[in-house]
């Protein structure tokens, strides 16, 4: 076979010269100044994968005038040459020595493998990492955050006082007796049927909700649900989920400025369905513990579902999925007999409702 190559060596320019090479079973033949040097047998030739990226084939041999070297870049030719020389030529591996390779591999693994593994672990253990991160935020810190957010929101709310507030505070107090949070309950003048919780223990009930409810137990059911959002730190978990890591770090460091912009969104913050169901379940337990009839919660959510077309306020943030209704239903039926030993909430609810509508 014949192939083109760049030749270097005695008698050739230092940058090499293009040359036509003939390769046979016995060796190669090229035109050199020293006649004998141009026809080395395969046994005298050292083959190596070479070139700047390892894609070239280098044929090297020592003649009477010095060392000659051929560089061939064509992959097809190179395969044919290697075939001809197989078993007859020495093949020099083209790779760095062992120590260099070991270090290079170690570094590549360290700088690429480790970050990839870390990211993988974070994605995989996402929930646990968030739970761990939220766990690092102290109750005091959460209270500060809540206070900050609530002061921001307060200007937009028309908070009212009176018997309604007294009742809400009273029921709330029963539900949060052993809590580590310092709860504060408010009633806001707003005819949408809604109630919301903010981190740190702020629970706001709209008058619209109080008007829709028929018994204090129903109000207690809603309050129990909202209180559990705070107890279970759902808002913090949602924030942690939606925020980037850097923002979470800034919360640890007590830098609230980054969160200021979030305040507005927080009110409309949608809890995940899991969070809602958790709040229902834990709320039920809390109602039982406070010796309040848990049927009120179920009744109110049923009423909400029936009203859904009329009054979507609460539903936007609290979607009444069938699954959730069934869940509450099942749980309240499964309650032990002791749980039914409840003390009715003795409030003159009709009077409270009348007072609310008068105030308006």
């Amino acid at each position: 076979m014949r192939f083109n190559a760049q030749i270097y060596g005695p008698g050739f320019p230092s940058v090499g010269a293009a040359i036509d090479v003939e390769a046979t079973e016995t060796g190669i033949r090229v035109q050199t100044n020293e006649v004998d040097d141009g026809t080395p047998r395969w046994g005298k030739i050292t083959l190596a994968k070479s070139g700047w990226d390892g894609s070239q084939l280098r044929l090297e041999w020592t003649g009477s005038a010095g060392v000659y070297s051929l560089a061939s870049g064509d992959a097809l030719n190179n395969a044919a040459i290697v075939k001809l020389a197989a078993g007859k030529s020495t093949v020099r591996p083209s790779r760095p020595d062992r120590a260099t390779r070991a270090w290079a591999h170690a570094l590549i693994w360290f700088f690429i493998g480790v970050p990839v593994l870390l990211v993988g672990a974070i994605v995989w253990q996402h929930d646990r990492i968030i739970a761990w991160g939220v766990g690092l935020i102290t109750v005091e810190h959460e209270a500060k955050l809540g206070e900050f957010l609530f002061t921001q929101q307060k200007t937009g709310l028309k908070l009212i006082e009176g018997d309604a507030l007294a009742m809400v505070r009273d029921i709330g107090g029963k539900l949060t007796k052993d809590s580590r949070h310092k709860f504060q309950f408010f009633v806001a003048e707003d005819k949408t049927v809604n109630a919301f919780a903010m981190p740190g223990g702020y629970v706001v009930v709209h008058t619209g909700l109080l008007e829709l409810a028929e018994t204090p137990e129903e109000v207690a059911g809603v309050l129990a649900h909202e209180v559990q959002h705070i107890e279970q730190r759902h808002s913090l978990r949602s924030i942690a989920q939606s925020l980037s890591l850097s923002a979470v770090v800034s919360v640890f460091l007590g830098d609230m400025r980054g969160l200021a912009s979030l305040g507005g969104d927080l009110l409309q913050l949608k809890f995940s369905r899991d969070h809602e169901i958790e709040a229902d379940r834990e709320g039920l337990k809390a109602l039982v513990a406070a010796k309040i009839n848990p049927v009120g919660m179920r009744d109110f959510f049923a009423k909400m579902a029936a009203q859904s077309q009329l009054n979507p306020g609460f539903l936007v943030t609290h979607p009444p999925s069938e699954e959730r209704m069934n869940d509450i239903d099942r749980l309240s039926k499964a309650l032990p007999a002791t749980a039914r030993q409840v003390t009715p909430l003795a409030y003159d609810y009709a009077a409270i409702k009348a007072a609310i509508s008068r105030q308006r």
Binding site: Q6, W52, E60, P96, R101, A104
Partner: protein, 255 residues
């Protein structure tokens, strides 16, 4: 600091990296083309491919072709380097038609030289060789001008001759040169010798172009020496003055 002045006969053309034009005489028309303007690129796909390659090498998507439309005599166009350094000519017809160079080394060339990209296939060299995985391939038979920082040094390596080079100082090489990395011997030297963990090794035959001062190194020195804020010297300060801010007042480099 240098620049290249090209004399164009009527109808002749040269091409330059976008933004490298320094001055040109009357009757020279410049046309910016997508891709590298080499003869092989015909059709839209070919042009897009060429342009994509240039984007990968970190160069502008466009090259500018300067054509002399004069009917009498020669016209001149000049190309200047973007930072202090040296320019060297390479005659591709003398070296086998192909030269591999650093991504941003190309300055200008005769029209017909094609600019391609060349991928480094060796992982170790790509990561630690100092030039990355993508280099530039100059092909054709005309003159090409390369630019690099500091001073440029040409070495013609004989067969079996090995040169160890600080990574980053390689500007270009003939494709026949074996380019690899080698661990700096001795852990003490590797960590505190200041050369990094690896050398680039170049094994002949073939010729290589080296630069004495990669621009990144110059830039990092300048950055380190730049005053961080008014009144306070940078870490480089006045030759590492232990006096810090006070030293810069004494040294008089406070502005």
């Amino acid at each position: 600091m240098q620049f290249v002045e090209v004399e164009l006969d009527p109808g002749e053309a040269a091409m330059g990296e976008a933004g490298s034009m320094f001055y040109m005489e009357a009757d020279i028309e410049m046309e910016t083309i997508f891709g590298d303007g080499s003869a092989q690129q015909t059709g839209l796909m070919g042009k897009l491919l060429g342009a994509g390659k240039r984007l990968l090498t970190g160069e502008s998507l466009f090259t500018t072709v300067y054509t002399s439309k004069a009917s009498d005599g020669k016209r001149k166009v000049a190309f200047a380097a973007p930072y202090p350094g040296k320019i060297i000519p390479i005659d591709l017809s003398q070296i086998g038609g192909t030269f591999i160079c650093q991504k941003d080394a190309f300055l200008c060339a005769a029209k017909g030289v094609s600019l391609g990209i060349a991928f480094q296939r060796k992982l170790g060299v790509g990561f630690f060789g100092g030039e990355g995985f993508i280099m530039q391939k100059l092909e054709g038979d005309g003159m090409a001008f390369l630019h690099a920082g500091g001073t440029m040094h040409r070495r013609d390596l004989k067969p079996r001759e090995v040169l160890r080079v600080d990574t980053g100082c390689l500007v270009g090489l003939q494709p026949s040169v074996e380019y690899d990395i080698k661990m700096v011997p001795g852990i003490k030297t590797a960590l505190f010798g200041g050369e990094g963990l690896f050398f680039a090794t170049l094994r002949g035959p073939g010729f290589v172009m080296l630069q004495s001062l990669p621009f990144a190194r110059l830039a990092s020195r300048i950055f380190a020496a730049a005053p961080m804020s008014k009144g306070g010297g940078g870490s480089g300060g006045e030759q590492g003055s232990i006096l810090g801010g006070l030293g810069s007042i004494i040294g008089g480099d406070r502005d």
